[in-house]
Symmetry: C2
Subunit: 232 residues, 2 copies
């Protein structure tokens, strides 16, 4: 069966995301440096973030609320001295310019000539729409699917929604756990495109010798891999 639909992850597949979170985290560590050592700060922020993700979901707003909560525990009565900087860091996390990863523009243009493209991304609808608009790539996509989790069932629903059988679909992204494994489980092809920074939550092992899996070095390799390996 020929590939008809290409699902693409957004954050850290099309554009930088994790690097901005890391910069923000570093800025937070510097700001709170007078009140706690970096290891303690890291541990408390990660713990608070993990708890808050369950209440609030993922995203920049949750990260900002987690920084505020951690700062209030660590800085005590000095919270007022750091709050302005934390709120500013949170706003910048929402509004940073969209920086496409190398080769993305060309690959997306090339893919859009032969396949229908759909963006499949977790997280915050408002923020992802901002980023897609800022990327200048919006016109190449037939649809945008913002989902709260990425399971095999999530992908099955997306494929059904576009009227395409799983075997005629490939999902490409940087996360083994969210993009690759559940797409394979749903019966689709999957392409793993590693990002330089891997978020701890997303780390997982790639299956060996899976007939529907592409391990690519860059999204630039995806159009050709689809030509050569995914049956047409």
């Amino acid at each position: 069966m020929a590939i008809e639909l290409v699902g693409l992850d957004a954050d850290d597949t099309l554009w930088h995301n994790e690097s901005y979170f890391r910069l923000t985290h570093q800025r937070f560590n510097d700001l709170l440096g007078p009140y706690a050592d970096p290891a303690t700060l890291d541990r408390r922020l990660v713990e608070t973030m993990e708890r808050n993700v369950r209440t609030y979901g993922y995203g920049a707003k949750t990260a900002t609320l987690s920084m505020i909560e951690t700062a209030s525990e660590v800085a005590g009565q000095d919270l007022h001295a750091v709050i302005g900087e934390i709120l500013a860091a949170g706003r910048e996390l929402m509004a940073h310019p969209v920086e496409l990863l190398p080769g993305v523009r060309e690959a997306v243009e090339q893919l859009a000539e032969r396949y229908r493209l759909v963006l499949v991304t977790k997280g915050d609808l408002f923020h992802q729409e901002l980023k897609l608009a800022g990327s200048g790539l919006g016109d190449h996509f037939s649809g945008v699917e913002i989902v709260s989790t990425k399971t095999a069932d999530t992908y099955r629903k997306v494929f059904r929604r576009y009227g395409v059988a799983p075997e005629a679909t490939v999902m490409a992204g940087n996360s083994v756990r969210s993009d690759v494994l559940p797409a394979l489980e749903a019966g689709a092809f999957a392409a793993h495109i590693p990002y330089e920074l891997v978020w701890e939550h997303e780390a997982a092992d790639l299956p060996e010798n899976h007939p529907r899996l592409a391990q690519l070095n860059s999204i630039s390799e995806l159009p050709r891999w689809l030509e050569e390996h995914a049956a047409r």
Copy 2:
């Protein structure tokens, strides 16, 4: 043309929402009472919220961040004394039990027997999915569309996605501006179901004598109105 698809708004159409925001706002006013008079607090919180909605989008997380920002301006060095209570109020805004409005369960069950139902709601994906799960109504819906704005174009896209002509669709909700006017503009039927509290952002006049508009007192009247007025 017979009605095939019924779009339903969520917050303040199916379940209480605005009332929780108002309770939270009151709790904030009580907490910050020692630092500013209620009118000043109201004005500053509304200004901050309006500014933050442009950065962060709508929702409980934006409301929480806005309360923190306002408190930091008003309470100054006492921010530390109130932050815990504000964070708790924000978490409760996310996690409050879903309280269906009168007649909703019966109306949704009745509508689901004859039409496909789709939830069309603005705002935060994570929060809306939480609320739909908590409502126990999820199984009656063919789909959930979380959108960042509700314009005529938004509704056209939704109708196209479900393969239904606008004339075979009705959108029902409490907001004249978000649910009624853009749905009529897209060529659909619209049913206005007023909520006891109207958010200032959503206030707008209803058109007079529009052939595709139902002005209902309650969602309980929707199934019958569709039978009698929307051509079958």
